[in-house]
């Protein structure tokens, strides 16, 4: 069973349907016990970092997610869910994340050329780092495949946890991972067959599918 963490942020319908499409059983849940019992856990999220981080703490689910990370079971953050795994975000101020991965979340404004639009919306190619090429998350990906992004902030200072970047006038972090803690800035559930392949690889890490 895969648990999709429901903390009142974002639309979880697509994620649930995409897991069903690859034959993985999942539940959308805000129950800490159910999250702890799952074989693998996905932390989704859209919207603003500060609100999401606050909701995760208020619901007590931050502790549940930290517990999953410590247990060694696969944990995948998607989009804002990935950003929450880092130590800090500088989106409208300075906010504390879960601190499960090294690095921080910063605006892409000023980093990318001024003529490029923000948010970075659309399909862009994945370029895997050597660590990414060895990551089980990318077992079904060779590099160069297109995935769907929607974001204005990106993770930086990820060190060896950097698995993939995408080129938007600058190399932006597209995926990260350290042991069982993984994250995608893009939306695998909206990235067609490539995205489903990435979700399938993640579920396989949890012994499901």
């Amino acid at each position: 069973m895969i648990a999709i963490v429901d903390y009142g942020v974002g639309n979880l319908f697509s994620l649930h349907s995409s897991l069903a499409a690859i034959g993985a059983e999942s539940i959308v849940t805000g129950d800490a016990a159910a999250i702890s019992k799952a074989d693998a856990v996905i932390l989704p999220g859209v919207g603003a970092f500060e609100d999401a981080a606050a909701k995760l703490r208020e619901t007590g689910l931050a502790a549940a997610v930290r517990g999953v990370a410590a247990s060694g079971k696969p944990l995948l953050g998607i989009c804002l869910g990935m950003q929450l795994l880092f130590e800090k975000s500088y989106e409208f101020g300075e906010h504390e994340g879960l601190g499960l991965l090294p690095g921080s979340v910063v605006p892409m404004a000023g980093v990318i050329p001024a003529e490029l639009k923000i948010p970075h919306i659309g399909w862009n190619a994945l370029h895997l780092t050597p660590a990414g090429k060895n990551s089980p998350l990318f077992a079904n990906v060779h590099g160069g495949e297109y995935v769907y992004f929607v974001h204005s902030y990106y993770a930086t200072g990820c060190g060896d946890a950097l698995l993939a970047v995408t080129d938007y006038g600058a190399d932006l972090t597209a995926a990260v991972g350290q042991g069982n803690v993984l994250g995608c800035q893009f939306h695998p559930e909206k990235s067609g067959t490539v995205g489903l392949g990435i979700l399938r690889a993640f579920c396989a890490m949890g012994g499901r599918v």
């Binding site: 639309n11 319908f13 697509s14 349907s17 995409s18 069903a20 499409a21 859209v46 919207g47 603003a48 639009k117 923000i118 948010p119 970075h120 919306i121 659309g122 399909w123 862009n124 190619a125 297109y146 769907y148 992004f149 929607v150 080129d167 938007y168 006038g169 559930e189 909206k190 990235s191 067609g192 067959t193 995205g195 489903l196």
Partner: protein, 252 residues
């Protein structure tokens, strides 16, 4: 680098795709679910679902079909038609829409854009605008292109982007159905005025029209069309191969 997007638009009424569909190899050419799956498999980058149902009953049927489609299609889905309130946003987002497009609803109540953007984020709010030239001015039309609102288009679009619209679909009434190419002049005026993605709609008749669009106006992010895709006059895989051969970055 980010790719230019190709977006087929499905007009749905009473649970069926209308505006003519002509695919010999599909079992049920008017099924939105089958058509959406077909387009996804042929390389569409995104789909737009347009609800052209009038009655509340039809709206419920549309919602069912949308859910059914969203369950089986794993690319971004934008839904428009009859979006007048934040509750309408909620209804379609719960069914699996990723973005919601507003047109007449925003003209009646521009604050709808702010309310929706605050609640769901700017990336979720797409402004769709029907524009026609009247006495040398670009004018916004309402009710599916029937009523002249008297508003100047570029100013209206700028205002909506300032309120939080994260993307603009520009439908040129002047070139719609003419199949002689996109309205480059109108698209230039709008794409230079805003910093959010602009999606060109109205006028595509052949693959070269998309090449001209992206070559002439590098700030336009996507091209949208309906009947030329439905009738197979332009097939998405060939279109994308043609775009790539002409140096335009697309997802293949």
């Amino acid at each position: 680098m980010i790719t230019k997007r190709i977006i087929p638009c499905l007009d749905v009424r009473d649970g069926r795709v209308v505006k003519g569909v002509n695919f010999a190899h599909l079992a049920d050419v008017n099924s939105p679910v089958e058509l959406a799956e077909y387009y996804t498999a042929s390389g569409a980058d995104e789909l737009v679902f347009y609800d052209i149902t009038a009655s509340a009953e039809g709206r419920a049927l549309f919602t069912d079909i949308l859910c059914e489609t969203a369950k089986r299609v794993f690319i971004p889905l934008t839904v428009g038609g009859g979006i007048n309130t934040v509750d309408d946003f909620d209804r379609v987002l719960k069914c699996g829409a990723d973005k919601v497009s507003v047109n007449s609803g925003a003209l009646q109540n521009p604050a709808l854009i702010e309310q929706a953007a605050r609640r769901y984020g700017n990336q979720c709010v797409v402004l769709s605008v029907d524009v026609k030239r009247v006495g040398g001015e670009l004018r916004v039309f309402a009710r599916g292109g029937r009523d002249d609102t008297g508003r100047e288009a570029v100013g209206w679009i700028r205002d909506c982007v300032a309120r939080g619209a994260g993307e603009v679909v520009l439908n040129s009434i002047d070139t719609d159905g003419v199949k002689d190419g996109f309205d480059l002049e109108m698209l230039r005026a709008v794409s230079e005025a805003v910093d959010v993605p602009v999606i060109a709609s109205g006028g595509a008749g052949k693959a070269d029209d998309f090449v001209t669009l992206f070559k002439t106006l590098p700030r336009v992010d996507a091209g949208l069309a309906a009947s030329i895709f439905h009738f197979g006059e332009v097939k998405i895989p060939q279109l994308k191969a043609h775009l790539r051969a002409n140096g335009i970055n697309v997802r293949i």
